[in-house]
Symmetry: C2
Subunit: 99 residues, 2 copies
Amino acid sequence: MAVKVLAEASPEEVRFAELQRRMAGVSQKMLSVTLQAMTRDGLVGRRVEPTVPPRVYYRLTPLGLSLEGPLAMVRAWAEEHMAEIDGANRRSQDEAATD
Amino acid sequence: MAVKVLAEASPEEVRFAELQRRMAGVSQKMLSVTLQAMTRDGLVGRRVEPTVPPRVYYRLTPLGLSLEGPLAMVRAWAEEHMAEIDGANRRSQDEAATD
């Protein structure tokens, strides 16, 4: 999801606060941990503007951008089959309830 | 990884013990939780043979099989870029050490 939002903005960078706004439902902590891991892996570049408070900007590196294509395939699959997966989950719950 | 191993065996089913053998480094607990979630989501079918001890077999459903293509794209990307990602991680560690 972070890759998708950053890929849409690419080659522009995105502020942390703006990323959070565009990824509703992801906690600040989870987003921060994810971006740290992606930075460590070389998928994301991080730039701090020394204002008060500091502004932190992220952008995809060429490596991170190359991941967007494969991830988009999985995302498309998930969107196409979401109803089917929800249905399977509901049936599993019903079976558990009648066990 | 479970999808890959099950897709390779498809349409044959695979015993839990055999899955574990083919996924070295994945704990029994982790494999078991993963297969439970995949069964709930309708990706995997589960069959118990009432022997003593019972034998449990898994196979991909058509839905699970349809996920293999998109996942293979991500797997290919990861294999292609593994060295680059390892390099980025080493540089991050070196920077952390000299901070």
